[in-house]
């Protein structure tokens, strides 16, 4: 069954009613369980489960230590272009925004890469706005090849493509694919993705699968909190990750929990994900999916990130710049405002002082 069909099964699901009927006992049972099913997951997302947040966090921590130890994987993002042919209401790169556009030349990519490599971190995520015209597949393949010289693990966050195109990127050295559905609620999806290729909901939904089929070893997915109903979005994200990990046993799955931040365009979020609910959702992800990577970006502030580390985060971006050319020239507008503005060495020191091992390199180019 496709994931789209699974989502359909929930079209008439009364989340409100389900949550109202969740009892304390159900929540406690779900926390104690070894293998959680989707209803257990839902129980942990219920508003009432907030009363057991400490218990939930303790369990999440325990599972994380068993599976990942006291380690945190590090990566850095590099923005190679902010050209975009889509108009997404919440994004600073939207074509509607009158910002300075920039695409790095291959020489510039090389220079930025060298600058980033000085941090010692061997994992990199390269991002573009979604413009097939300005940043076509051939360009992306070249960028991948350049980055692969300095970094052992290269991931992409670019426009969705076909399996064949992904195969070319895989051959060029790309190891991982990050693709956020942004919002699983189709109605909201159509509202915020006004025009451009990104307005194709179904094509985007099946993107992680095409990536897995093409051979990528890591998939990172998630919803952008602030667009749809918070709990439903969390539930569908978890379900999606579970679906993919079951279908593609060989792929490492990662979940991110981006929430809307100030960006150019000043989009007012439809929903607000507060800190308490953030932690609740993150822990619910961990209990439901013990081996999934939980990726926390610099959208979150330093103090909050440091605290999440002790619960169940396993992956951090460090010293991120969200402008194109940000590591060397910092000329353009950022895609979103980062909150954790520390340099990578500061982040690393802090991780160590918290009793965790920062992992600079977690893959070998083979």
């Amino acid at each position: 069954m496709s994931f789209a069909n699974i989502l359909k099964e929930y079209e008439n699901f009364d989340f409100q009613n389900y949550f109202e009927n969740v009892t304390d006992e159900m929540i406690l049972t779900s926390i104690e369980k070894k293998e959680l099913n989707k209803f257990d997951f839902l129980n942990l997302l219920a508003p009432k489960a907030k009363n057991y947040l400490e218990k939930l966090a303790q369990k999440a921590h325990k599972i994380t230590v068993a599976n990942f130890g006291y380690t945190i994987n590090l990566y850095l993002p590099i923005y190679v272009s902010n050209y975009c042919s889509s108009n997404c209401l919440y994004c600073g790169f939207s074509k509607k925004n009158k910002i300075q556009r920039k695409k790095l030349s291959l020489e510039e990519v090389e220079i930025e890469a060298q600058e980033i490599a000085k941090s010692g971190i061997k994992s990199i995520l390269f991002l573009t706005g979604e413009s097939r015209k300005v940043t076509p597949l051939s360009y992306l393949c070249e960028v991948a090849k350049i980055l692969k010289k300095q970094f052992s693990f290269v991931s992409i966050e670019v426009f969705p493509m076909s399996q064949d195109d992904y195969k070319k990127l895989f051959k060029a050295g790309v190891d991982g694919l990050t693709i956020y559905q942004e919002v699983y609620d189709k109605k909201v999806y159509q509202q915020v993705h006004v025009s451009g290729e990104k307005s194709n909901y179904d094509y985007r939904l099946e993107t992680p699968q095409r990536g897995a089929e093409a051979g990528f070893r890591a998939l990172n997915i998630g919803t952008l909190f602030g667009l749809g109903d918070i709990k439903k979005e969390a539930f569908f994200s978890g379900l999606h990750a579970s679906y993919l990990s079951n279908k593609y046993l060989e792929c490492e799955l990662g979940l991110s929990l981006p929430r809307i931040n100030d960006a150019e365009g000043h989009f007012k979020p439809n929903t607000i994900l507060d800190d308490v609910t953030f932690v609740q959702i993150m822990c619910a992800y961990r209990l439901f999916l013990p081996r999934v990577e939980i990726n926390i970006s610099t959208r979150e502030n330093a103090k909050f990130r440091d605290n999440l580390l002790g619960i169940c985060a396993t992956k951090f971006s460090a010293g991120s710049k969200t402008e194109v050319g940000g590591y060397t020239k910092a000329r353009t507008e950022p895609q979103f405002e980062i909150s954790d503005k520390r340099q990578s060495d500061e982040v690393i020191q802090r991780i160590q002082s918290l009793g965790y091992e920062p992992v600079y390199k977690n893959w070998e180019s083979i």
């Binding site: 068993a66 990942f68 006291y70 380690t71 091992e357 390199k361 893959w363 070998e364």
Partner: protein, 255 residues
């Protein structure tokens, strides 16, 4: 002396350790001292020759035998590739093959593991394959040139002990190469049990690395392994005592 022989090397310790999951790489050295472990497994994916602070190899004393592993390999081809990179990186000829096609439970792929073992043993590696405990696989690995087999006790990181006890017993009973129980050993008593059953060695990583004091945990495991081994040897001795009885206990009856 009770010696464990793997490939061309001899060891007095039967505790194999690992470098993963520590909160501080400096704890690795202390752990090795306290446990007496002489073999340590290192994921090649974590070996970072360019960055001395991050490079795990810099935290391992020179007299310890490195057992690089192919963690992250999804098939035989990738495992073989990683083994060769490890050799070039200076990690020696020992290789622990981990082919994992299942990122959810981290179960090894026995079929691909056999393929990789054959190729690497042919290339002169000392191959220690990590497997689901299956006697048929073990026999095929022996034929393929493996220097030991490493059946799992329970899933990696689960600390659930010897969930596969009866399958491992079969292997111990029939194997002509050392049997090293790997993964899932959460308590010293689990390790003792494996050794008492006749395992030749035990590999422990998570339970030591994630303990509040890795050094103390290492000591506890090493004592348990010694206890289990001694108990096993005693059992052997008692069995052979009857086999060699020079004066039968019922001799006086003139039967």
């Amino acid at each position: 002396m009770d010696i464990l022989k793997i490939g061309n090397k001899e060891f007095s310790s039967r505790l194999l350790s690992g470098t993963g999951k520590f909160r501080d790489k400096n704890d690795i050295k202390k752990m090795l001292e306290k446990s007496g472990s002489q073999i340590i497994t290192v994921a090649l994916r974590r070996v970072n020759l360019e960055n001395p602070i991050d490079n795990i190899l810099n935290y391992i004393p020179k007299h310890i035998t490195l057992l690089p592993n192919t963690s992250g390999a999804r098939n035989a081809k990738e495992a073989i590739r990683i083994a060769h990179i490890a050799r070039v990186a200076g990690c020696g000829d020992f290789i622990k093959i981990e082919v994992i096609h299942d990122a959810k439970y981290l179960m090894p792929d026995n079929e691909e593991t056999i393929k990789a073992t054959k190729a690497l043993a042919n290339d002169g590696f000392i191959v220690l394959p990590y497997i689901l405990p299956d006697i048929v696989t073990c026999k095929k690995l022996e034929d393929a040139g493996a220097s030991a087999v490493m059946p799992l006790g329970s899933p990696i990181g689960s600390n659930a002990g010897l969930q596969t006890k009866s399958l491992i017993e079969m292997i111990i009973e029939n194997s002509n190469i050392p049997v090293i129980v790997d993964a899932g050993i959460g308590l010293p008593s689990h390790a003792a049990q494996a050794m008492e059953m006749g395992a030749d060695a035990v590999l422990i990583n998570t339970a030591i690395a994630t303990a509040s004091s890795p050094a103390l945990a290492a000591r506890a495991f090493s004592l348990a392994i010694e206890a289990g081994r001694t108990a096993y040897l005693l059992k052997l001795q008692e069995q052979s005592k009857y086999a060699n009885a020079s004066s039968p206990l019922t001799g006086f009856l003139n039967l």
